[in-house]
């Protein structure tokens, strides 16, 4: 684009042409106002037909991969200053992983690719909305930004003047990067408490375990590229867990990047997941006993003196001595897990003999009532395996000390804890941002009822979902491609990463970026609030935060800050090795001796013979991407189902219960029922049934609404002990045939390749 004189001429001519066209069109529009849309003057420079690539950030899951968007010019129907018209603008046509981004290194997962559909979704909220009917009816009327903002400002003013700042609360998904800083600054300036977080994909149990074991309530990263042995307890690390793209890259290299050494991968779970399907060895065991197995493996390694080196602290040594206890011997554990002692011993010896070995845990094992025990047990196994902080093992991604990290919630900022403790009853105003607790919590927690009792709900949501439908005012956010974004990915990179993205596209609709809206509200409120948030735009805030970073890190500024800033914006973030902050060393590990805790399940075995295992699914995650048509049509890796929900039942179990594929089954727990079609899954335990999370939306756009069933409807409202997160894998259920068949959309024509398919 920065070419010689010829290019400049083209651009000038183009703009002239554009203005001329605009004028002509406006004139023409005057003749037939009803039929012809106004043609706006292009707002940006581009060379028609030539693509440019602009960096951005994928916000669909917590991994925080960097993307680049291919921008090509096209004509779109947009709203400018409240008027509809057409605009020749740069349109994102394709997303790819940002090749320079250290987390995903140019690769992108299926959901990341589908993120393109968020911006262009037909059901996006296109302008501010005001509720015009009863709460939850879905009746809204379009209003302008001035009116919408003034309503919110008025409400906040009122509360300020009555000195009731504690009645203002803000619910968000994650608090990451400068937008997280801004939210909390905003709240603090109002005298309100910290933001509440509700992020079903977050892993609070793992964070607590890591806090207990490593002093850091952070998510782990893994150097699979150099691993010799990987044992995963239920973690879908090649699918949806933690930082799947980064982990997949490492996995690929582990398998084929080192000639002659493809490592060994063992998966421990009850239901073969997409990740588990790639395992060399697959170990089933009763739900809740994963931690026990981990400790038993550690026991064997310790007892047989297979572990490398001595642990650092006295506490760790004590922990390891406790490991030698008979409770964790393979013989004892064999009784509880059904895994023969010989197999436990063999696995342990293999692990120790093929370093670097690393263990990880995620998914259902963390969602049993003893999830914390399971996680700490796996941490202890990692200690024993001796790969923490070393190549091929587990580590924590380095952080930049001056930049806002992801804040993991404590009791005061965890939405569910506050809700259950009744702390939302005094709330007058609740802001809703990137969270859908109505959908992702068991009905018995009464989230919608609680929200309905709050007098004023303001949502920034881009879509009408189960939570935002309750709002009084919706101030629709830009999509991620239309926004200034920054992020601090917590895992998946061996260098410190700060992602930064300028908008890749102009806004399509009459939406505004949430941070900018907060800044505008602050300005309108004036006084201490606007003083605390002196920036006019979020972009300004981002730039100033980078100035601070550059100062604090004493980065090389010989070419001037502007040059540095431009480089950061152009490449999509900052990962300059020069300003690298070393990661936490594994020297100061302190391990508390694990106290054995058994898992308890809601419902007795006779009445509810099956363990119920919902899982974060490849197409819908926790439900937050179910509205994307590409995702609805993506055949699930194992069940190959599209456009629906399914209940996975073992074929032998199905035979006994005379259940055929497609039969509508009523799943019943002590707390609720749901109806879902059965699918035969040869990879699931006899006494376990599983179904994907994320379908069963009552509201979420045309592709997801009234489709399938939401497993939350039967999940028992139990929490993981000592952590407070929902123990969504602690429910027992019974199954009953309803007597109807559902025409399931199953893409696979057969279950297996070799034998005749007799089903």
């Amino acid at each position: 684009m920065d070419g010689g004189p010829d290019n400049r001429m083209e651009r000038r001519d183009f703009l002239k042409f554009g203005i001329l066209t605009g004028a002509t069109a406006t004139l023409t529009a005057c003749e037939k106002p009803a039929q012809q849309l106004v043609r706006f003057v292009p707002e940006e420079d581009f060379v028609p037909g030539v693509a440019s690539w602009k960096p951005s950030l994928c916000t669909l899951c917590p991994a925080g991969c960097g993307v680049v968007a291919r921008i090509m010019d096209g004509e779109a129907e947009v709203v400018r200053n409240g008027q509809r018209g057409t605009l020749q603008m740069g349109l994102a046509k394709k997303l790819e992983g940002n090749p320079k981004h250290p987390v995903n290194r140019g690769k992108l997962c299926a959901r990341g690719q589908a993120g393109l559909q968020v911006t262009y979704h037909p059901d996006r909220v296109r302008s501010p909305l005001k509720r015009s009917g009863p709460r939850g009816s879905g009746d809204f009327q379009e209003i302008g930004w001035p009116e919408a903002l003034s309503e919110v400002v008025a409400k906040l003013e009122e509360l300020r003047s009555h000195n009731r700042p504690d009645s203002i609360r803000f619910l968000t998904g994650y608090l990451r990067g400068q937008s997280g800083v801004l939210i909390n600054k905003f709240l603090a300036s109002l005298g309100a408490g910290p933001a509440l977080q509700f992020a079903p994909l977050d892993e609070p149990v793992l964070r607590r375990a890591n806090l207990v074991s490593f002093g850091r309530a952070a998510l782990p990263s893994f150097d699979f590229e150099r691993s010799g042995y990987v044992v995963s307890f239920g973690a879908d690390f090649l699918g949806t867990w933690n930082s799947p793209v980064s982990q997949s890259i490492g996995y690929g290299e582990m398998r084929r990047g080192r000639p002659g050494n493809r490592g060994k991968f063992v998966q421990v779970e009850q239901r073969m997941s997409q990740t588990g399907a790639n395992a060399d060895e697959w170990v089933p065991l009763p739900p809740g006993t994963e931690g026990l197995l981990a400790l038993s493996l550690a026991h064997v390694i310790v007892k047989e003196g297979l572990r490398p080196g001595q642990p650092a602290t006295a506490q760790s040594r004590e922990a390891l001595e406790k490991l030698g206890n008979e409770t964790y011997s393979p013989r004892e554990v064999a009784n509880r897990t059904g895994i023969p002692a010989s197999r436990i011993e063999r696995l342990a010896r293999e692990m120790a003999a093929q370093p670097p070995a690393v263990a990880l845990i995620g998914g259902a094992p963390l969602a049993h009532t003893n999830g914390l025990f399971n996680a700490v047990a796996v941490n202890l196994l990692n200690l024993v395996l001796g790969s923490i902080g070393l190549p091929g093992g587990m580590f924590f991604a380095p952080r930049v000390s001056t930049m806002q990290e992801t804040v993991s919630p404590n009791e005061n900022s965890d939405f569910v804890s506050q809700l259950l403790a009744g702390r939302l009853e005094q709330t007058e105003v609740l802001f809703l941002h990137q969270a859908n607790p109505v959908f992702s919590t068991p009905p018995l927690w009464q989230v919608p009822q609680t929200l309905k009792r709050i007098p004023f709900l303001v949502s920034f949501s881009s879509f009408i979902d189960e939570t935002s439908v309750l709002a009084d005012v919706i101030l629709p956010d830009h999509s991620s491609l239309e926004s200034w974004l920054d992020d601090v990915p917590e895992s998946g990179s061996s260098e410190a990463v700060l992602t930064l993205a300028a908008p890749a596209m102009r806004p399509l609709h009459d939406t505004r970026a949430m941070p900018d809206v907060l800044l505008e509200i602050a300005k309108n409120l004036g006084g201490s609030v606007s003083e605390a948030l002196p920036w006019k735009t979020f972009a300004e805030m981002l730039e100033s935060s980078y100035r601070q970073l550059v100062e604090a890190e004493r980065c090389d500024q010989s070419e001037g800050f502007d040059k540095l800033w431009k480089k950061v914006v152009d490449q999509g973030g900052w990962w300059d090795g020069k300003c690298h902050v070393p990661p936490l060393e594994a020297t100061a590990l302190s391990f508390r001796a694990p106290e054995f805790v058994a898992a308890t399940f809601d419902g007795n075995e006779q009445e509810f013979p099956f363990y119920f295992q919902p899982y974060v699914s490849q197409a819908f995650l926790d439900g937050s991407v179910a509205h994307l048509p590409w995702m609805q049509e993506l055949p699930d890796a194992l069940s190959s189902v599209t456009w629906g929900s399914w209940l996975e039942v073992n074929p032998q179990t199905a035979d006994q219960l005379q259940i055929r594929q497609g039969d509508l089954i009523q799943v019943r727990s002590r707390h609720g029922t749901l109806d879902v079609a059965a699918i035969l899954n040869p990879g699931i335990a006899f006494d376990v049934v599983a179904m994907p999370m994320g379908q069963g939306h009552e509201q979420f756009g045309r592709y997801a609404t009234q489709r399938g069933a939401n497993p939350m409807n039967v999940v028992a409202p139990i929490q993981v002990e000592q952590v407070g997160a929902l123990a969504w894998a602690a429910t027992r259920v019974s199954l009953a045939k309803i007597g109807k068949q559902v025409p399931l959309c199953v893409a696979a024509g057969a279950l297996n390749e070799k034998e005749k398919d007799l089903r």
Partner: protein, 234 residues
């Protein structure tokens, strides 16, 4: 230098995640057919991840296999098309000329890999999803057959760019959408006529085999099966 495009699929790297499926759909304007059509087995993905169970619980084994147009040198779909809509290009690709297709679907039957998909209706994109459509790839109307083209639009763009810059194509250029998105790097694309390219190297691997090679279709994709940890092919 004339190219001969080919691919290698390393099933030991492939995790079945499906990123390639969506990347391809986004790049090539593959329509979303909707629930009714999905029920009728009318999905249009140009690449699919086949999943086979090899054994049952308590020792289940699953294998994943991405299947896309094999660009056969002896393609059964080419002689049977009455209007020459399916033809062989000079770079070894099986080309599909959408405008020439009258929709006999003979090629779809003849293809042993069942990789050809058909537009049973005019594709629909609820506005404004159509803004995402890639302008480098035509949108196919009702009655037209389509399939993976190895992202021929990217191949052509790279070739044009390289010739404008007076140089040869580099390794990794061009890259189809599926290859670009694959995290574990299970999919490798390149020039089979260049013996030093990665794809040629993998094609020569003793692990490699052709899918349904015994049919004599001469596919251009080499599949490298997953090994078990004791070194046996599973």
């Amino acid at each position: 230098m004339s190219h001969r495009w080919g691919m290698a699929v390393d099933l030991d790297r492939c995790t079945g995640c499906g990123a390639c499926v969506i990347a391809c759909q986004a790049e090539n304007n593959v329509p979303t057919v909707g629930e009714q059509a999905a029920q009728k087995n009318r999905l249009m993905h140009w690449i699919r991840i086949e999943r086979y169970y090899e054994s049952e619980f308590p020792n289940p084994r699953v294998k994943f296999r991405p299947v896309l147009c094999q660009q056969c040198d002896n393609a059964p779909c080419e002689p049977v098309c009455p209007t020459y809509a399916s033809y062989h290009t000079s770079e070894g690709l099986n080309g599909q000329v959408y405008n020439r297709c009258i929709g006999t679907r003979y090629c779809g039957n003849a293809c042993p890999y069942t990789v050809r998909t058909f537009n049973f209706f005019n594709p629909v994109w609820d506005k404004p999803l159509q803004l995402q459509l890639n302008p480098d790839v035509s949108v196919r109307p009702v009655g037209v057959m389509e399939k993976c083209t190895f992202c021929v639009q990217r191949i052509k763009a790279s070739e044009i760019q390289a010739s404008a810059e007076n140089r040869e194509l580099r390794e990794g250029e061009p890259t189809p959408a599926c290859v670009e998105s694959c995290g574990p790097r299970a999919l490798v694309f390149g020039d089979l006529s260049d013996p030093d390219s990665e794809v040629s190297r993998l094609a020569r691997s003793p692990r490699g085999s052709m899918l349904l090679g015994e049919l004599g279709t001469k596919p251009k994709i080499t599949y490298l099966p997953r090994e078990s940890s004791d070194g046996q092919n599973r």
